[in-house]
């Protein structure tokens, strides 16, 4: 039995070793692909006002969107980024916060109860929260 088994076992080990190598390489490629795919760039921007859904816009389609309410905001989408470029609210914090392009970031106009939520890519974001 031993004489018969030995060569078989050896072949199996070599084959398994090769197979495991192949599988590991495939896994490494998968991990690399995944992490590149979850770079954190947003694909679209959702507009919420007073907690109410106002629509979702593709960041690849350059456009301007007018928001009314207690105040007027102009939302601009350009080259995969979004910003509030004009507002008649006091303080202008929304305009000052500038352009954003990463998923899970928000642009907020508190006086107009407006929130722009950047969404769209799978995976963990680069940052979970921000201290300002």
């Amino acid at each position: 039995m031993r004489e018969k088994c030995k060569p078989v076992r050896l072949t199996l080990c070599r084959g398994d070793f090769l197979a495991v190598c192949l599988v590991l390489m495939a896994a490494a490629a998968l991990i690399a692909g995944w992490s590149m795919g979850s770079g954190g760039k947003a694909a679209s921007v959702q507009i919420w006002q007073d907690g109410i859904w106002k629509g979702e816009y593709d960041l690849m389609q350059d456009q301007e969107i007018q928001i009314s309410g207690s105040y007027q905001n102009t939302v601009k989408i350009q080259n995969g980024r979004a910003a509030i470029i004009d507002s008649n609210c006091p303080g202008q914090d929304c305009v000052k916060s500038g352009w954003h392009e990463d998923a899970r970031q928000s642009i907020v106009c508190l006086p107009n109860r407006l929130e722009l939520r950047l969404v769209g890519t799978e995976g963990e974001p680069q940052v979970d929260g921000v201290t300002r």
């Binding site: 084959g15 495939a26 896994a27 979850s38 929130e115 201290t131």
Partner: protein, 344 residues
Amino acid sequence: MKRTATLILLLVLLCGCTAAPAKSNDTGLNRYEATFLTLFDTVTTIVGYAETEEAFTDTAQAFHDELLEYHQLYDIYNEYEGINNIKTINDHGWEHPIKVDQRIIDLLLFSKELYTQTEGRVNIAMGSVLRLWHDARETGIADPSRAALPDQAALEQAAAHTDIDSIQIDVEESTVFLSDPEVKLDVGAIAKGYAVEQVCRNTPSGLLISVGGNVCPTGPKPESGQPWVVGIQDPEDPEQYLHTIYVEDVSVVTSGDYQRYFTVDGVPYHHIIDPDTNYPAGYWRSVTILCRDSGVADALSTALFTLPQEEGQALLDAFQAEAMWVRQDGTILYSPGFQAYIRI
């Protein structure tokens, strides 16, 4: 056949592992985020993991509802029906003792303790001084052509009425009395952090809560056990971070001269007033505090903003906290233990 089966099993297992970090499939938890614009006049964001959206929404709503009660109790500008809040104390607390909720008594006792420990750098009895700056700022922001500094004589007059001992607390009766009618309370430097701390203690673990940049984790990410990543905003550019840091059991609070300010003759005047000068403190562009207690972190960020580095470091040592200071020229200083938290 056996070999093929082993191979397939291996492949499946390995693919499962690679998918896990991105999608949290192994724990069955998904990542959710909720935003509220109704608390402490700022943006509140709650990030967490749950099996279903409903489960997460319930948690987030419970947090919101509890913090909303604190918001109303600690409000100095608005009245709410059936509630005696800080505004009630300011309006009538000098006429007779005001019966208040235990959560107000607790905040005032905490604030008095912090006053003593920071040697007066955080003083909730500075309301009359802060009100003059608040009104000047509101006017200046609404109509820049009318922007003006508060009247110097009025500032000096107000500064004569900032004695914290004028706030008389009767713990047994749960009342507050102002023995000096000119003393007004302003809890803006401390109430938000204190309230967040109290609510976070009753909140399930594994959330990252941010109330206007006052960031409080309730433990690490539940799907991976990893710490949360928090960005520290660059005072020069709101789109950039000075650093990203790892946190799971410390709160992060930043005070900066760019958060609330108005401009007179081209000069910006921010909202953090030095009790020695009654003018905006000029030591730093921003100070970021790391501290287990969010209420202490909030108070320390104000205190350190109005102090030179050595005196600030002494306070950090007393509270086992860490800090990052940004100078006017943009250079950065760190307390000895701060760098252990830095990711990038």
